[in-house]
Symmetry: C2
């Protein structure tokens, strides 16, 4: 299972393979059933999750009780409430398995030990989070740049497999649409 993570690490930096072989004990392998929660808003966030297989959505509860999806994570992505994870504070987001999802997670305590034992992992997380931050900046640019309909077309073009995979009501939530509006755009797009 850990090989998935090692493959991902090797995309970002070169860490001595012997050290990478010592990674496994710091991580826990877990399978979440479809719709099971990985993290609940308002609770402490002790883990960060590396998605080995599957898909999760990151959401918060609107005042009207509706779940607002702000992001997804699929294979090779990390998901957590990273502020709550880093500070030991209460999570502002929930995370739920969109489908059966297999993860490797690490707790904040285990991460401290990991970074002592294999400080080279800081390089991986540095480059990973620098890229994630940059991607979030690009997403902000898209939100300024595109109308809602253009946003749909942008995601369809750039992430077609992803668009097929995610249930329509979650995609609509993510794009800030009503499900009805999304359905209209899809029909227009297909015709």
């Amino acid at each position: 299972m850990i090989e998935h993570l090692i493959t991902h690490i090797n995309k970002f930096c070169s860490i001595n393979p012997e050290k990478l072989n010592a990674l496994a004990p710091f991580f826990t392998h877990k399978i979440y059933k479809k719709k099971e929660l990985l993290l609940r808003e308002g609770h402490r966030c002790y883990e960060k999750f590396f998605i080995v297989k599957g898909c999760v959505n990151i959401f918060y509860l609107r005042q009207n009780g509706i779940e607002q999806t702000v992001d997804f994570a699929i294979e090779n992505w990390w998901a957590s409430d990273f502020l709550a994870f880093q500070d030991g504070s209460v999570a502002q987001f929930s995370i739920r398995a969109v489908e059966r999802t297999e993860v490797l997670y690490i707790t904040a305590d285990h991460q401290l030990e990991l970074l002592k034992a294999i400080p080279e992992m800081n390089e991986y997380f540095h480059l990973l989070f620098q890229r994630s931050y940059a991607a979030a900046q690009m997403r902000l640019r898209f939100l300024y740049e595109f109308s809602k309909e253009e946003l749909y077309h942008h995601f369809s073009e750039h992430f077609p497999a992803f668009m097929q995979r995610v249930p329509q009501y979650l995609l609509a939530s993510f794009l800030g649409f009503t499900p009805e509006y999304l359905s209209e755009i899809r029909k227009k797009h297909l015709s």
Copy 2:
């Protein structure tokens, strides 16, 4: 000058002071005049900038020729097009000094050398970018959660010094308002 950066590093992690004393040669100190560009969209991005004193805005050029501000950075923030910096690709954003701005910048080449000489700096950048990414996720939440007027009030409450400091037309751009609409909201807010 480097003490500002060292103070910031010490907020995130503890690196041996002797090692931190070896930081300076990797950085260049530079002062940008008000309105001077630090980075130009469409050009290569070789540097990342630590703001010692001042304020910059990060923007892109809309198809209609208008500059759309997507973010600001003030003292103790890092600014760059981090994707372009990491990949050596072309910048999707420009960065301009909102006021006279003093920076310490590091080039991608110097950063490679720095991380070889002081690999502990990866820990700083890991925790820094994890936090930046988390802050970007929270900002996305605000964009879903708040109306434009609520967004203005949110920023006024949480970043009052910042709101005073930034010219109105840039703030309007950042909030996605016309300057006229911002002026109306301010009047309502003050009355």
